[in-house]
C-alpha cells in the first residue's frame, strides 16, 4: 500500500522541521543557560581583578591577559607564514603537484586532533627545548594549529581578487611583487582578516593544547616565559573541580560571547565580500 505522496510530504515536512527546531533549541538552550547564569557575574571588578584563593573569589583578569598574549603570539607567528603561503600558492605557481602537496599538507594539519598537538607541544617545547610551561610554548603550538585556517581563507581571498586588477597593473609596468603589495593584498585584506578572526575564535576555545603547553598558573604572565592560564583553561579547572560555579559560569559567558561575536563579525565580513565580488 503506497502512501499518498502528498501525505508523506506533509509527514516528512513535520519531521524535518521538528528536527530543525530541536537543533535550534539545543543551541539556544546552551547560549541562554550560560548567559543567564554567567552574565550577572560579569562586572567590571570581575574583569579587572585577579583570581583569588585558586579562583574561588576574585575575577579573571590574569586569564584575560594570558588569553590575549597567547592568541596574539599565535596570530603573529601564523599570519606571515599563512599569508605568504597563500600568496605563493595563488600568484607564483600554477596548479601542479607542488600546490597540491602544500594544500594537502594544510588540510592534514587542520585535521590533527588538538590533543596530539598538545602532546607534541608539551614534549618538544615544554620539555625538550626547555621553554617550560609558558606563553611561548602555548603560542607556538597554537600557531601550528591555526596555520591551515589562515592559509585556506587567505587563499580564497586572494583568488577572489579579479584578474583584471592584476592585468591593469602589469600593463602599467608594475612588477609582480608591487602588484601584490599595492593592489592584490589590500583588496584581499577583508578576506584575510576573516581568516585571522576565525583563528582567534578557534584559539579562544582551545583547551587541550594550552593546558599542556601554557600551563595553569594563576598570576598574570609578564614575560614570554611565564606560564599563564587562558580563560578556557580557567573555566575547565573551575568547572571540573567545583571550585566556584558562579565564577565558572561567568568565565564561560565571557568566553562564549567573545567567540560568538568574533564569529558573527567574521561571517558578516565574508558575506559582504562575496556580494562585492559576485
Amino acid at each position: 500500500m503506497r502512501l499518498d505522496p502528498r501525505l508523506s510530504q506533509v509527514f516528512m515536512k513535520i519531521l524535518l522541521w521538528t528536527f530543525t527546531g530541536f537543533t535550534l533549541f539545543i543551541l539556544i538552550f546552551i547560549i541562554v543557560n550560560i548567559s543567564i547564569k554567567g552574565l550577572p557575574q560579569v562586572t567590571p571588578t570581575f574583569l579587572l581583578q585577579d583570581p583569588l584563593d585558586m579562583g574561588r573569589h576574585g575575577g579573571i583578569f590574569s586569564t584575560i591577559v594570558a588569553t590575549v598574549y597567547v592568541t596574539v603570539l599565535a596570530i603573529l607567528l601564523a599570519s606571515p607564514l599563512g599569508v605568504g603561503s597563500a600568496i605563493y600558492l595563488t600568484e607564483y605557481t600554477r596548479e601542479g603537484w607542488v600546490t597540491r602537496l602544500i594544500r594537502f599538507g594544510a588540510e592534514c594539519l587542520a585535521g590533527v586532533p588538538s590533543i596530539i598537538l598538545g602532546l607534541f607541544g608539551f614534549v618538544l617545547f615544554v620539555m625538550k627545548l626547555g621553554f617550560g610551561w609558558s606563553i611561548l610554548s602555548g603560542g607556538l603550538t597554537l600557531a601550528i594549529m591555526v596555520l591551515p585556517i589562515i592559509i585556506r581563507t587567505s587563499e580564497e581571498a586572494i583568488k577572489a581578487v579579479p584578474q583584471e586588477y592584476r592585468q591593469v597593473c602589469y600593463s602599467l609596468g608594475l612588477s609582480k611583487w608591487q602588484t601584490i603589495t599595492r593592489i592584490v593584498l589590500p583588496s584581499a585584506l577583508p578576506g584575510i582578516s576573516t581568516g585571522i578572526m576565525l583563528s582567534v575564535g578557534r584559539s579562544l576555545g582551545e583547551t587541550a593544547v594550552l593546558l599542556f603547553t601554557a600551563g595553569a598558573a594563576l598570576r598574570t604572565p609578564t614575560s614570554l616565559f611565564d606560564s599563564g592560564r587562558t580563560m578556557a583553561v580557567h573555566f575547565y579547572i573551575l568547572a571540573r573541580e567545583g571550585i566556584s560555579m558562579p565564577n565558572a559560569y561567568g568565565t564561560a559567558a565571557i568566553l562564549m560571547i567573545s567567540i560568538l561575536l568574533i564569529n558573527i563579525v567574521a561571517y558578516s565580513l565574508m558575506q559582504h565580500l562575496m556580494k562585492r565580488y559576485s
Binding site: 528536527f19 546552551i30 605563493y88 594539519l109 585535521g111 607534541f120 576555545g205
Partner: protein, 279 residues
C-alpha cells in the same frame, strides 16, 4: 628582476612551512612512537585490552573500541539531525529563513568544547544516571555530546552539497509531477550524495579527535564497554590523562596511540578529498 626571484624564494619557503610543520609533527610522533610498537609487537599493541603502562602492558584495544563506539554513537545521533536541518534549510525553508538560520546554526561551532562538556556533566549525566542507570558518565553521554558537537560540520557541508545540485534537476522533477519531498529524496539527495558523505566523514574526524568534552562526560574507565551506560575511555582521553607524567616506554606508548589516531584521521581526510575530487 633579481628582487622578484628573491621574493619568490622567500614565499616558497614560507609556503613550505605548512607542509613543514605537518612533516615535523608526523616525524616526531612516529619517531617517538614506533619504538614502542616494535617493542610490544603491532598485534599486542592493537589487540590486547590490558593497559597497565607502569607495569609494562600496552594494549589499547579497549580504547580503540571505545573511540569507535563513541564516534558511531555520535554519527547515529548527529547525522540524521544534521541532515534533517540541512534539508529543511536548503530545500524547504524560504530564502529569508535560510539566510537567518544557516549562520545561527553555524554558531554552534563557536562554542568551546569544554562548555559542551560542562553542560553535559550538569544536565545530561544526572539524567542518564537517574532515568537509565549506570553512573551517568558513559558511552551514551559521550555520544550525545559529540553528536551535538559535530552538528555544525555536518549541517554546513551538507547545505553546501545540497545547494550545489543544479535547480534544473529539481525543476525537471517537479515538472514530472513529483512533490517537493519526492524530489528531495529521489533526486536531490542522491545527486548530493558525495557531498553528504564528505560531511559525514569530516564529522567523524571531528568526533574522533575530541578530547576535553569526552574526558568530562565519558567516565574514563579502562574496560571494553558492554552497554551504552558503561563508562569508556577513548584514545584521546587516554593521552590527555597520562601525558603529564609518562616517561620512557609509557610516553612512547602515548605517542604510539597518537600514531593510531593520526593514521585514522589521515585515512578519513584522504577519503573525503578523494570523494570531493571525484565530484
Amino acid at each position: 628582476m633579481k628582487k622578484e626571484l628573491y621574493i619568490e624564494r622567500v614565499l616558497l619557503f614560507l609556503a613550505l612551512s605548512s607542509i613543514g610543520s605537518l612533516v615535523t609533527i608526523t616525524v616526531f610522533i612516529f619517531w617517538e612512537g614506533i619504538p614502542l610498537i616494535a617493542y610490544t609487537g603491532l598485534k599486542n599493541f592493537l589487540l590486547s585490552s590490558h593497559w597497565a603502562p607502569t607495569r609494562g602492558h600496552f594494549g589499547i584495544l579497549a580504547m580503540i573500541i571505545s573511540s569507535v563506539l563513541v564516534t558511531i554513537g555520535a554519527l547515529v545521533l548527529g547525522v540524521p539531525l544534521g541532515l534533517a536541518c540541512a534539508i529543511t534549510l536548503a530545500e524547504f525553508a524560504p530564502e529569508r529563513v535560510k539566510t537567518l538560520l544557516k549562520p545561527t546554526l553555524e554558531l554552534l561551532a563557536g562554542i568551546p568544547s569544554v562548555v559542551y562538556g560542562f553542560l553535559g556533566v550538569i544536565w545530561l549525566v544526572p539524567l542518564i544516571r537517574d532515568y537509565l542507570g549506570g553512573p551517568g558518565l558513559s558511552l551514551l553521554a559521550g555520544s550525545v555530546i559529540l553528536g551535538i558537537m559535530i552538528l555544525p560540520t555536518v549541517i554546513s557541508i551538507s547545505i553546501d552539497a545540497l545547494s550545489a545540485v543544479p535547480d534544473l534537476y529539481r525543476d525537471g522533477s517537479i515538472a514530472l509531477g513529483a512533490t517537493n519531498w519526492q524530489t528531495v529524496h529521489r533526486v536531490v539527495l542522491p545527486a548530493a550524495g558525495s557531498g553528504i558523505v564528505t560531511a559525514i566523514i569530516l564529522g567523524m574526524g571531528r568526533a574522533i579527535g575530541e578530547t576535553m568534552a569526552i574526558i568530562m562526560v565519558a567516565g574514563n574507565a579502562l574496560k571494553i564497554p558492554t552497554s551504552i551506560l558503561d563508562p569508556v575511555r577513548t584514545l584521546t582521553a587516554n593521552i590527555a590523562l597520562e601525558l603529564g607524567y609518562a616517561s620512557g616506554r609509557h610516553r612512547e606508548a602515548l605517542f604510539a596511540t597518537g600514531i593510531v589516531l593520526f593514521i585514522i584521521i589521515m585515512i578519513l581526510n584522504l577519503a573525503a578529498s578523494a570523494i570531493t575530487r571525484r565530484r
